[in-house]
Symmetry: C2
Subunit: 244 residues, 2 copies
């Protein structure tokens, strides 16, 4: 049984405003929930149509399919929904290689980039305040548990860059030095921009090293690579240079 107030709370968590107010976010599906349960995140409450997870009885709610449908954002709800506490944001660790996103809007792209950071050992992901919220349910789903292992911090990018003059800053642009020919340090801040407009003018002024993935096809019409694809190519090359 799910009470009206629980339904109201859970469905409200699709909105960032409610997530911020309640310090909670939603995870749907057994696989996703298992991954977050295995981390140091704190479970708030769990709603399932079967007993699957070993969690304290006070937090577990056995519900029927009809109730699950009421609280799910999916057309085909997937057995389980959990609410977890959003952890406190610590001051970001600026050592090593850091990715900074300037206005990335698509939840799937952000989720994929978080997963790439996790794979390539990038511990800190800086996001401009107009980047999509990392606790958006679509981001959580696309990140496949990586969200618990990568520190995502929302802030104004310009002051971070200005206040840390010792950290090299690089950015990805359509017209820049060839990624495979340019010289650049393998650690520092790598900025990637918005899907349609790239890096903002304000931040661009603070990026001395402009890099680009060369195009190997002979077509003039090819769309630029999407920001998540570009992140994959850049992270591969940064780590190769550092390690091999």
């Amino acid at each position: 049984m799910v009470s009206k107030s629980q339904i109201k709370l859970i469905t409200s968590l699709e909105q960032k405003k409610s997530r911020t107010k309640n310090r909670l976010f939603i995870v749907e599906g057994i696989k996703g929930i298992s991954e977050i349960l295995a981390s140091n995140y704190t479970l708030d409450s769990l709603y399932t149509t079967k007993e699957i997870f070993d969690v304290p009885a006070s937090k577990a709610h056995l519900i029927n399919e009809a109730d699950l449908k009421k609280i799910s954002r999916l057309k085909t709800p997937q057995t389980a929904i959990a609410l977890f506490e959003i952890p406190e944001v610590k001051s970001p660790d600026l050592n090593g290689l850091i990715i900074a996103l300037d206005g990335v809007r698509d939840p799937g792209n952000l989720g994929t980039i978080i997963r790439l950071c996790d794979w390539f050992g990038v511990k800190t992901l800086l996001c401009s305040k107009d980047t999509v919220d990392s606790y958006n349910p679509k981001v959580v789903q696309a990140s496949m548990g990586s969200i618990t292992r990568v520190q995502v911090v929302y802030l104004d990018l310009s002051p971070v860059i200005k206040n840390n003059p010792g950290i090299p800053v690089m950015g990805t642009f359509l017209e820049g030095e060839n990624l495979y020919e340019a010289k650049f340090p393998s650690n520092g801040i790598l900025v990637l921009g918005n899907e349609a407009n790239g890096i903002s003018k304000e931040v661009e002024q603070l990026v001395p090293k402009k890099l680009t993935i060369p195009q190997f096809g002979d077509s003039q019409n090819t769309e630029s690579l999407n920001v998540a694809m570009a992140t994959a190519v850049f992270l591969g090359e940064f780590r190769r240079r550092e390690n091999y």
Copy 2:
């Protein structure tokens, strides 16, 4: 005005069976249609709520929003829908670097991989017959026009590999040689597998060179990279080795 039979035809093209029978596929939205119009693909018919494109009057249908809604698969239809002819499949060009997909099911992944092939100058994409259809509307949308520049051919992968013993075959596996340390030719067939199960046993036996993207994070829990992400990293490294 859209006739009942037109509505029936257009909506049926969401299904592969109908696309195969009618040799037609759908493109929605001004941007996507512009890209295909600029290629050598043949327009069958165009349905728009405004006069936007310069196409023969016999193929253009000016319709109202209500009619657009009837033929669109999108919740918020985007001004224009076009049907294009599916071109004849030629025998694949097996020169240079070729990507082969063994059972990729997600339309977004296939569309992204087609776009990556276009960017990195891969002219031929071989797909096992259980790979999602490249004229699926979601694939067409994700490929952003690249579908007109990359030859996608559906076939059984095993005979192609067996019948071309002179072509080096490499594959991406969770446990293989480190991509950045292994020696391999920069041309040949690179096989990538299904999202959940990887490369099938049958094809695996025919892949002598197993490659893997090393994990740089220290977590044991990280999910493997998704197949489109892996394609991005592999294509970057293959092209770097060949050219720089």
